[in-house]
């Protein structure tokens, strides 16, 4: 094994296909979009070089910053919901009855396509005959909120299906990590008289901290570039109340035919996400390695 891996050619052979795909499908388009961001271009006709004008406009564009704020709010909520996911995973891993079945049920939203989820929640939120408002009316509330049509509520109304959509994914990750903890540690704690809550908070959680940190990065980065449910459910509306960075970029490039400006926003989105990732990794970096 070691002999094979010490051969530089073998290493090259193994990594080359992935490297090629990443290069062609990710790195080249990234550079291109940064380049298009320097152009005044409608995506069809001739390009005109305008330097950093698009980037400067973006930094002064209140709509862009508003959409960035929405993206960050989504990131915050997604990160907070990780705690809830962890709690569910702890309960599932503590050998309750039907844990296996429940785990599978939680995973179902992961298996549905985003568009199907969006359609489902559009029906739930329908102000006149949606499930949610029918229940609220049944409870005697005469004027229930209009959810996706109310600019003050729409953003949070969309957060819920997003958080629901990813629950299964994170629960599965935590569950797997928790199952990795050696039984002997738990038993030793039990003999020392630790309560189940103490075992969970003082032994299990610290032991899977590394996994938890990875999921924080995953969820925040995923939130910052989030697009699908928002695009299908509201297209960023009404009047931009649920616009996030990615949907704003899309709108500029594909609805306003301002491809250059859209590319600039896309590039800024990349930079913002990169900076945030670095900051989070710095904040969550730890020196000690966990050993069982």
């Amino acid at each position: 094994m070691n002999k094979v891996m010490s051969n530089k050619w073998i290493i090259f052979l193994y990594t080359f296909p992935a490297l090629l795909l990443i290069g062609v499908l990710i790195v080249v388009p990234l550079i291109l979009s940064g380049y298009f961001g320097l152009m005044d271009w409608d995506g069809i006709g001739a390009m005109e070089f305008i330097g950093l004008e698009n980037y400067i406009t973006a930094l002064q564009d209140s709509k862009f910053w508003e959409s960035a704020l929405h993206s960050f709010l989504l990131a915050l909520f997604s990160a907070l919901s990780l705690i809830a996911y962890l709690a569910v995973a702890l309960i599932l891993a503590s050998k309750i009855k039907g844990a296996n079945l429940l785990r599978k049920i939680y995973l179902i939203p992961m298996l549905l396509s985003s568009v199907a989820i969006a359609q489902l929640w559009i029906k739930i939120y329908n102000p006149s005959n949606g499930m949610l408002n029918s229940i609220l009316r049944g409870l005697g509330i005469e004027n229930p909120p209009t959810w996706l049509a109310d600019p003050n509520i729409v953003l949070f109304a969309i957060f819920i299906p997003i958080i629901w959509q990813y629950a299964g994914f994170y629960i599965l990750i935590y569950y797997a990590a928790l199952k990795n903890i050696p039984e002997s540690l738990i038993e030793a704690a039990k003999i020392d008289g630790a309560t189940p809550l103490q075992i969970a908070l003082k032994i299990k959680v610290p032991l899977i901290m590394n996994v938890f940190k990875v999921t924080i990065v995953l969820s925040i980065v995923g939130s910052l570039k989030y697009f699908d449910l928002i695009y299908v459910m509201t297209s960023g509306g009404p009047n931009g109340a649920s616009e996030v960075m990615a949907s704003y970029m899309y709108k500029l490039a594909f609805a306003s035919y301002d491809f250059g400006y859209g590319s600039a926003i896309g590039f800024l989105l990349l930079i913002i996400t990169l900076i945030v990732t670095v900051i989070i990794q710095k904040l969550t970096a730890s020196k000690d390695k966990i050993q069982y």
Binding site: S128, A149, F254
Partner: protein, 435 residues
């Protein structure tokens, strides 16, 4: 030892799979392009936006026309791709960016078409179009500098469709003035019926209400078009007044609740599910109210329509919001341009005949209704169209893409009460002035 070997072999196997897959793809591609340019067999790519699910009759007639065309031109094959409206717009945009438009496809008129014409994407069609076959005004909408780039397929005017059964139940009659409309709304509200279905998530739906109100307030002047063409300011009294009227309608709860979050399809299904009494839409939906067998006959019998009412005694009800819908374009860089043009003109000709009888919509080509057995509502709409004095083209089609986006956002804000009529007009004026 065995293990090492196995890993190395597996690695090489994986690599060769990748390489083979890549080669295979290339081979296929070159193979197909050869066959299309080779022995006289031409393939014309055609994209349209009438999927079987939502436009069953359109879809069927398109397939029939293609089959007939292929039977008459044995060396030409039509390769079809069908997408729904919004997806179609997105895909065309992406394809045009990489210069890979289908040989024949659908386009909207005026402002929508402009960047494609400027980018030299559409072929000039003057050699295949016979303008006398078309209703006047339709080919003009698809022309830039006297050159025609699109063969118009439809002509639409919008009216308010209403449920006669609901109206009868509460002793209501089709209104002629906005005051009467307001009274109807009040009566319906009292009885717990949703007055008007509106899906303003798509915003062009709300835009039609706004455009009609502006048109009625201004009398016989087409103020909206004039403002877009920069002949007058958007802060014209009629254009600001129309915004005020919109907010009055909203304040009176005329529209279904949460309309700003509903798509047009959802609003339509409320109207067709008899959960709302009225629905402003253009004549492309006529089949749903006349000939579409998938819609229960019982419902189709209940639908009537009235012209958009006058406002404060102003307005000419022979003025309409509408215009040509989609038309066919031929790609400038098509390898099979001649065949594509032939197909496009064949399609438009056949479409004109069958759109009336088989689809139940109004084509852009002239219709001789006298000889055909048509539903009464269709005949009435055709009469309206013939008596039309002015048709204002949809604002979002008239404007450039960027201004159209401002307009649509502002329409949502106006209906949502987030912007005053004055600021609404000001935002338009600023956007239009920037060009």
């Amino acid at each position: 030892m065995f293990k090492k070997k196995a890993i190395a072999v597996f690695g090489i196997f994986l690599l060769s799979v990748f390489l083979l897959a890549a080669c295979g793809g290339g081979e296929n591609e070159s193979g197909s392009s050869e066959s299309s340019s080779g022995d006289g067999d031409k393939t014309v790519k055609f994209m349209h936006l009438w999927p079987e699910g939502s436009s069953a009759q359109h879809h069927k007639v398109v397939n029939e026309i293609i089959a007939d065309f292929e039977a008459e031109n044995e060396d030409t094959t039509i390769e079809l791709e069908v997408l729904s409206n919004e997806q179609y717009k997105d895909k065309i945009k992406v394809l045009s960016t990489s210069d890979e438009l289908p040989d024949v496809g659908m386009t909207w008129a005026a402002g929508y078409m402009q960047p494609y014409v400027d980018g030299n994407m559409y072929a000039a069609l003057d050699d295949v179009i016979n303008k006398d076959d078309f209703v006047s005004g339709t080919t003009e909408a698809f022309s830039v500098d006297d050159t025609t780039y699109g063969l118009p397929l439809e002509l639409n005017i919008s009216s308010i469709f209403y449920n006669k059964a609901i109206f009868d139940e509460y002793g209501l009659e089709a209104p002629e003035t906005i005051e009467e409309l307001n009274e109807i709304v009040a009566t319906l509200k009292e009885n717990g019926v949703n007055p008007i279905a509106l899906g303003n998530k798509d915003a062009w739906t709300g835009s039609m209400w706004y455009m009609y109100l502006a048109n009625r307030l201004a009398g016989d002047e087409d103020v909206l078009t004039q403002a877009i063409n920069r002949e007058i300011s958007f802060e014209d009294p009629a254009l600001v007044g129309a915004a005020e009227e919109v907010q009055k309608l909203v304040d009176a709860d005329s529209f279904v609740s949460g309309f700003n979050g509903l798509a047009d399809e959802e609003a339509k299904s409320m109207f067709m599910g008899e959960q709302a009494a009225m629905y402003l839409i253009a004549t492309w939906d006529l089949p749903n109210f006349t000939t579409n067998e998938d819609v229960p006959q019982e419902f189709r019998d209940k639908v009537g329509y009235f012209k958009f009412p006058t406002v404060d005694g102003n307005g000419n009800t022979n003025n309409y919001v509408g215009g040509p819908g989609v038309g066919l374009f031929v790609a400038e860089n098509s390898d099979v341009k001649e065949e594509a043009k032939n197909f496009a003109s064949y399609f438009v000709e056949q479409w004109g005949e069958r759109a009336v009888t088989d689809v139940g919509i109004i084509p852009a080509t002239k219709v001789d209704a006298g000889s055909l057995d048509l539903p009464q509502m269709y005949v009435d709409v055709l009469d309206d169209l013939n008596a039309a004095e002015n048709i204002t083209l949809y604002a979002d089609v008239q404007m450039s893409a960027e201004d159209a986006q401002v307009h649509l956002d502002m329409i949502q804000a106006l209906f949502g009460g987030e912007v005053t009529p004055e600021d609404f007009a000001k935002a338009h004026e600023e956007a239009l002035e920037q060009e």
